[in-house]
């Protein structure tokens, strides 16, 4: 098994303590850092996401894999040409105003990061203006993700998307929405570009939308 395959296996199994060392060994062997990132980690997380979607593994297994990848990225980062790992793009993420829930949103952030994106997490109870401000401050952001956990904060999600849709930057971003009560039909109705029902699907959707943004 190649060193990169070993990295991939350790990421998939969530072996946080091993990944850093394996990445260092791969670098010492002269492996290309970009290859270690793409094949050893991002692809491995793709496999993890797919298994989660198919109900072959559970949320904690996805979380430990993402945590393991993070350990590997720490070792890898100084060796990447740009010093960054956000090859796929940049996303602004947050839970809408009036909603303090972030477990699902954090999972989405983690999986999207694991797919190679840089995620700017605005946190919880995010006012509409803060979303707009963040997109303006990050001209390279191509995705905006808005989350609502409560049926009672669905209107705030609607308002947030409506406001983003009015902005001059609308053409350069794609808007993703999610949260327990949200459906594809609701996402369509409020004018979002995409909806996904779980964190693994969100990462796949982010890749797809970023490619067309």
């Amino acid at each position: 098994m190649s060193k990169i395959q070993e990295v991939a296996e350790a990421v998939e199994k969530g072996k946080a303590k091993l990944v850093g060392g394996l990445v260092q060994e791969a670098l010492d062997e002269g492996c290309d850092p970009v290859e270690i990132l793409n094949q050893g980690m991002i692809d491995a997380m793709g496999v993890v996401g797919e298994k989660f979607k198919n109900n072959e593994i559970f949320v904690p297994e996805m979380l430990v894999a993402a945590r393991a990848m993070k350990k590997g990225v720490e070792v890898l980062k100084p060796h990447l040409a740009s010093g960054g790992t956000s090859s796929a793009g940049k996303m602004i993420l947050g839970t809408v105003a009036g909603d303090l829930h972030d477990i699902g949103k954090n999972l989405v952030g983690m999986m999207i990061e694991s797919a190679g994106f840089e995620v700017i997490d605005l946190g919880i109870d995010v006012p509409i203006e803060k979303f707009i401000e963040a997109v303006n401050e990050n001209p390279d952001a191509t995705l905006v993700g808005c989350s609502a956990l409560l049926t009672t904060t669905m209107p705030a999600l609607r308002d947030t998307v409506a406001a983003l849709n009015e902005q001059p930057f609308r053409d350069r971003i794609k808007i993703m929405v999610g949260g327990a009560p949200i459906t594809q039909a609701f996402a369509d109705e409020i004018g979002a570009d995409g909806y996904s029902e779980d964190a693994a699907s969100a990462a796949q959707l982010a890749k797809k939308l970023a490619a067309t943004a």
């Binding site: 946080a16 109900n55 945590r67 009036g98 909603d99 303090l100 049926t151 009560p181």
Partner: protein
Amino acid sequence: MTSRERVLAAINHKEPDYLPMDLGSNVSAGISGQAYANLKEHLGMKEGHTRIYDVVQQVAQPEECVLDLIGADALDVARVYNEKDSDWYDVTLSNGKIGQWPAWFQPVKTADGGYDVYQDGVLIARMPKGGMCFDQMIFPYKEDYPDNYDDLDHAMGQVLWSALVHGPWDHMKDFPTEDAFYADLRERCLKLRASTDRALMITCGCNLFEWGTFLRRMENFLMDIYAEPESVEELIEQLMVRHLHTLEKTCAAVGDVVDILRFGDDLGMDKNMFMSAEKYRELFKPYHTKLNEYVHTHSHMKTFLHSCGSIYGVMGDLIDAGYDIINPVQTTAYQMDPARLKKEFGKDITFWGGGCNTRSVLNHATPEEVYEYTCRMIDIFHHDGGFVFNTEHNILPDVPPENIMAMYRAVQNARK
């Protein structure tokens, strides 16, 4: 049959005289203060108050006039405390209606119209402007497990579910000793027992998985279950000491008065369980079994588990562990098809819930659709006992009163 006999018949899997039903027997089978105030206005009930006895979830304590109208068969013994008008004060709810909070609950109104709760200067809970519930703001073991558990009681006390606990536990601190509280609780429950035919429920929580998530934060504790199971087990052992103590005192005080003891531990999400069935069996089932055994050996009470989400994968294990009742039966979660649940587990456990979906039907459908949906669920669950009608979790603020009454018309129809 009295209400109590009706509920107990259902739990004993005997066909009751008619469909037993519940609103408000515990804080996950009730109605939010906002929805309750709307309902009373719709019904033209001007007397009484919207008293919010679970301040965390902002759940109301339904009054006798409402329970009589809908024919409810069970009560939460929380109501033995905060009986006087002076135990409550008026508050304007997010929908503009007037409700009441318990006198002991004094959150600080923030500049933007939300509410914060502090304990010893530490922000422990927050409800944003226009909010419907308080959320946890401090996770005592978020960074790591402690070196020892000397401070566990203090750490648990900072978590809103403990710091802002509902009745009867909200009055425990008023008594000079623990025994004095339990003696008073017994006296009050006996009085309630003598005054009502309804079945009585007491909430003891005794959560294990959930306490892990409250202390460590959800993401961390979920990872611990897979990456650090020995730390998880150590924490559970510590929690068990406290939970078994609560059960010992509760069973001794009211085990012959109260009919049902409610436990809680959310094991599922919409899409699946939080963990595999194997992990549940390894880490949690042995302790859930001990909790049930204690109650069954030391009282007459039936045991009730509140667990949201998809739990089909461990239904057999929960029955093995000794639970008599499962709630809220989230029928739209993964693998939770109601007909299959009834067919496979209906003889061995009572479904307390599942009567109407609160996520998309009760709040968003028309009254006619709600009525038809509810009739369908009753048809699936009610035969051969083993069913107490209840919604799939609390009725939330956005539910139109017309829909609530359409749901109860379906219950009345099933009772003919």
